[in-house]
Symmetry: C2
Subunit: 227 residues, 2 copies
Amino acid sequence: MTITHSETDVFTQDPLRFGVGARVTISVMTDNYVEVILNALDAVDPGGLSLATGDVSTWVGGHEHDVLAYLTAVTREIAATGHHASVSIHLSRGCPGEVACALPGGAGPRVVTAPQGEVTGLWAAAEWALYPLGTTTSTATDDAGRAVEPEHMTAIYAAIESTRAAGLYRGSEHYVTRLEGDLGLILGHVTAAWVAVGASVQHVTSHLTLSLNSPSHASATSLGDHS
Amino acid sequence: MTITHSETDVFTQDPLRFGVGARVTISVMTDNYVEVILNALDAVDPGGLSLATGDVSTWVGGHEHDVLAYLTAVTREIAATGHHASVSIHLSRGCPGEVACALPGGAGPRVVTAPQGEVTGLWAAAEWALYPLGTTTSTATDDAGRAVEPEHMTAIYAAIESTRAAGLYRGSEHYVTRLEGDLGLILGHVTAAWVAVGASVQHVTSHLTLSLNSPSHASATSLGDHS
């Protein structure tokens, strides 16, 4: 299916039609989890986002900047309770469906300015994976036959480098990158990386698992220790 | 980088060198979460798997069949406590590294027989995503110029069809497929799909979020209701 330029604009300019959003699973390790989670969700205004809650996760759809603001606000509320919690976040853009995208190939990419993370003063540990879909990672060659990285791989390396520069990078683990530091900055860098790779790839997803207030973080939850 | 046939065998025949494994985050919604989680982990023999526990997740690496057996045994222990829990599972094979695979391209795919799920008698709701990486989804054409689905897309459609046939499929949600039914059968079908797509694609990941004993499942936890 080929689409015209004006159809491309329709798909890429409307975040919902481009499938921009997140699924979030908040797990709070307390008998009072229902109250803690409902309080957090009630305290946050989803603004212009579409929202649907389910038993496995909550979905929010809309502009990338609004998605970041929402994720930051909700996880900040949870972290501020002091309860140990894990938050699983699934970001997606460019494929507003399930397996077979409802959006035709060629309807992207969608280019938006990099979302900026907000300092929360709350510490988190995280594991992060970033997936450009429907792209080959094989090395192309330039006119002189020299190897050239695909554009999205360059964006991925730049994203990881930005987490190093921000002091959030803690190393490579099996299948994921480990991040530690300010909750809001982690969310900001992860969201910005998802957007950056999406400047050259239509369908990009990212999975982030956050650990908040873990007992094993007792010696590490001072942000000053990780500057 | 090109590799020889015998080097390919070395990479594909050793699950650890091929990067086969899972990261698992278990969250139990009770004040006694430490005891519940440690009891579950202690009750399960990881067998031949490599295992590393962390504050964000536990990693197990090894043969696909052993990974499924481990995931089934641990989640069964958690579900049997009756506590509400969410379990986030990240399967990966074909890229034993972080972003840039430590494994050279062309070292796969790795073909193994389909893992078989085990009936546990315990009900779960789940959201599932399956990602073939480094592949294009663009439609190829045959000699006569007719559109041909790439092999891995055929495998993905077959995997979803198998969840329908098993009565586990509950529909398409934003970015994920919703499954409901026996915990062990859900894990079996998800693991089998990951392996099946991996028969034609080197790097395949899959993310599954399980909800166990949710209060909102009260009317649905009888497996008889969902046959």
